[in-house]
């Protein structure tokens, strides 16, 4: 009888540990993939329809017109990134900018870019869509980029 009680005690202790594991606290760190003004892609070849009509192609450097970032959910109690945040790369397929820092942006939300158009001499706005791919709306093209991420030590903690 006593042995059974002892076993129950041991099991309850293990259960408590499991419960502590489930109640994990996270730190939402912000990973900056592009800072406002960073060069997203140098000498990018634009091809496709041009503003003046017809097709055109040109080279242009593309700059981020807003910071592109994502949350990295970091577990404080478990000592690492959570399985649902185990990015193979922080800056591919990311949520990007376009939202307030304290609101989770849409996955693959994209961010504004800007470039000087050598055909018109006009500074144009574009949209860097799906993370890792950067279609420029005016030309329906995509830029493939890869950059290192930077941490901004900020944001909030949460437990569940």
């Amino acid at each position: 009888m006593k042995r059974k009680l002892n076993m129950l005690l041991a099991l309850s202790l293990l259960g408590l540990t499991g419960a502590a594991y489930a109640t994990t606290c996270y730190l939402n760190q912000v990973v900056l993939c592009f800072k406002n003004g960073d060069k997203v892609q140098g000498s990018y070849l634009h091809t496709g329809s041009s503003i003046g009509g017809g097709t055109a192609s040109f080279y242009a450097d593309i700059f981020a017109e807003e910071s592109a970032w994502r949350y990295d959910k970091y577990s404080v109690t478990r000592g690492g990134r959570t399985p649902n945040r185990s990015y193979t790369s922080f800056c591919v397929g990311f949520e990007a900018g376009g939202a307030d820092l304290f609101t989770q942006p849409a996955v693959n939300g994209g961010f504004h870019v800007t470039f000087w158009n050598p055909l018109t001499s006009h500074t144009d706005d574009g949209w860097n869509g799906s993370g890792g791919l950067s279609p420029i709306p005016a030309y329906d093209e995509r830029v493939y980029y890869s950059v290192g991420a930077s941490y901004s030590d900020t944001s909030s903690t949460s437990c569940n």
Partner: protein, 335 residues
């Protein structure tokens, strides 16, 4: 206020060559439909390019604060959600972007073409609309850069995106009432020439009657005019005395905001850490790769440690209880 006897066209030209202190300039930029309605990339969850942007600018030589947002709310004091603020107070520059990131840096060079730092070039890009409106639709110029010779002008400018100088010349034509009706402009950048025409409309008096309420800029391509930008000016208030620098300072808003401030210094970005010191803003995952099994185990070492400690404690307690039970049983037997 301009003297009433000055002809509208002369007052217009004087504004471009020697603008007054701007206490408030409010306008709306309307994206031409041929730019907005172009095919949008997948996925559709992307935030589309906005059709309209509102701006409020305040300027005097060496000082600028420019707010932009999606609604007329930008004219409200402080910063509304979704607003972007770009400010310059002498050598201090601030960009408070839509997402909430705040960037601060110093730039001692004031000429557009001498600015080498990336954030300063960014600042020029972000404030280009203000310069364009202050130049009545002429692109790539600093405020007050236009020099008139009769109705012809000449100016030197700069394109920060390609680090190139621009030479612009043009001619302004009045309407039958003596107001500026259109301005033909030619830009020379590197070896290329670009032709533009800017049309002016006078639907309302924005504050200075000789200035238009609508500015429409067209690229002239093979004889066709393609609209590139439209600015609808709402109000303009000038000042005859210098404005206090506090009116250009965005820091009052920063004190009530918990957004991170990135500081650009000596060619690198820093952020204030928990100790209040500037910490280098480094890329910790510059060479990203999938963690190995060992690293995953190491990452969870706190958890495994806790499990081990709890298990060890549990078995120690059980062992002690068993020992005590055995001793108690022995005592009972002996008694």
């Amino acid at each position: 206020m301009q003297a009433p006897e000055t002809a509208p066209l002369d007052a217009f030209k004087q504004f471009l060559a020697s603008p007054p202190i701007i206490e408030s300039l409010v306008w709306k930029k309307v994206m031409p439909s041929e730019q907005v309605n172009r095919p949008q990339p997948a996925p559709t969850t992307s935030r589309p390019l906005e059709h309209e942007y509102w701006f409020q600018g305040r300027w005097q030589p060496g000082f600028l604060i420019l707010k932009s947002g999606h609604t007329l709310e930008v004219t409200q004091p402080g910063r509304q959600a979704g607003d972007e603020i770009n400010a310059r107070l002498g050598d201090d520059f601030w960009t408070w972007e839509l997402s909430g990131f705040i960037m601060h840096w110093q730039e001692r060079t004031h000429a557009l073409w001498d600015m080498r730092m990336q954030p300063s070039k960014l600042f020029q890009t972000h404030t280009r609309e203000f310069r364009e409106v202050m130049s009545m639709g002429v692109m790539h110029l600093d405020i007050g850069a236009i020099r008139w010779n009769g109705d012809n002008f000449l100016a030197e400018g700069y394109v920060p995106e390609i680090s190139s100088a621009v030479r612009a010349h043009g001619i302004v034509k009045p309407d039958s009432n003596g107001y500026a009706q259109e301005m033909a402009v030619e830009y020379f950048i590197r070896t290329n020439a670009y032709h533009y025409v800017v049309h002016y409309k006078y639907d309302t008096n924005i504050g200075l009657p000789f200035l238009p309420s609508v500015i429409q800029s067209f690229w002239v391509n093979e004889g066709k005019e393609v609209k590139m930008a439209e600015y609808a000016l709402r109000s303009l208030k000038t000042s005859t005395v210098a404005l206090p620098s506090s009116l250009f300072d965005p820091q009052a808003n920063l004190r009530t905001n918990s957004s991170p401030v990135l500081v650009y210094k000596d060619g690198a970005w820093y952020q204030t850490n928990a100790l209040g010191k500037l910490a280098h803003f480094t890329p910790p995952f510059a060479n990203e790769r999938s963690p190995t099994t060992g690293e995953k185990l190491e990452a969870n070492q706190l958890y495994f440690g806790a499990v081990f400690l709890n298990s060890f404690t549990a078995f120690s307690v059980i062992r002690r209880i068993n020992k005590q039970n055995k001793q108690n049983t022995k005592r009972k037997k002996t008694t």
